[in-house]
């Protein structure tokens, strides 16, 4: 395995792990549902994407062939994450979850 690959893999792994963690921290820490929605849709998706990428590089550098299956999963995640977020936001608006006080504007009435 080339030195470059090793650096790239490690970096991607750490990047991915960190972002996954940040997404989760956001989920745990942010004050209301709508703000919490941001963490997973972006940070976590990106984090997992990075880990996928590291996996692609890892296996490409140990095996002979190149396999992009992980990329497919990543693409899939990127395609679906906004939809999940949309659906959840709609559900939250329906239920009327509380928003933080200084939120400007209002969720729609469902």
């Amino acid at each position: 395995m080339s030195q470059f690959a090793e650096y790239a893999i490690s970096a991607l792994l750490l990047f991915g792990g960190a972002f996954t963690l940040v997404g989760a921290i956001g989920l745990a820490r942010l004050p209301d549902f709508y703000t919490r929605l941001h963490g997973p849709t972006k940070a976590t998706t990106v984090g997992v994407g990075a880990i996928m990428l590291s996996s692609v590089i890892y296996f490409s550098s140990v095996d002979q062939g190149i396999d992009f299956s992980e990329i497919l999963i990543t693409v899939f995640l990127f395609m679906t994450a906004p939809v999940s977020a949309n659906m959840l936001a709609k559900a939250a608006m329906h239920i009327g979850v509380k928003t933080v006080k200084d939120t400007e504007g209002n969720p729609w009435h469902q």
């Binding site: 792990g17 963690l21 989760a24 745990a28 997992v48 999940s84």
Partner: protein, 89 residues
């Protein structure tokens, strides 16, 4: 080096999963819980990939793919349940 990075990453993802579980149990509303489980699904994908790297096998890749698909459908269904009650109508 990869090993260390791998362990650190696994640690971070596991921690992330724990935080998700915290949110899941804490709520306070149902959408929060569904959001938490949706995130948990994605973390599980990461864990599976990391397991694959640790074991040096791609045997578990399809499991990750499946979690992605199933996690999505499950989240969508739960969200629809919350707002429509009837998932299939």
């Amino acid at each position: 080096m990869i090993t260390i990075a791998l362990y650190l990453t696994i640690g971070m993802v596991t921690l992330a999963a724990l935080l998700n579980v915290y949110r899941l149990i804490k709520g306070p509303d149902e959408p929060d819980r569904v959001l938490a489980i949706d995130t948990l699904y994605i973390n599980a994908i990461a864990l599976i990939i990391l397991l694959g790297i640790t074991l040096g096998t791609r045997m578990y890749l399809e499991s990750a793919l499946l979690i992605a698909v199933m996690g999505f459908v499950s989240t969508v269904a739960m969200a629809k349940y919350l707002k429509r009650g009837s998932v299939i109508e």
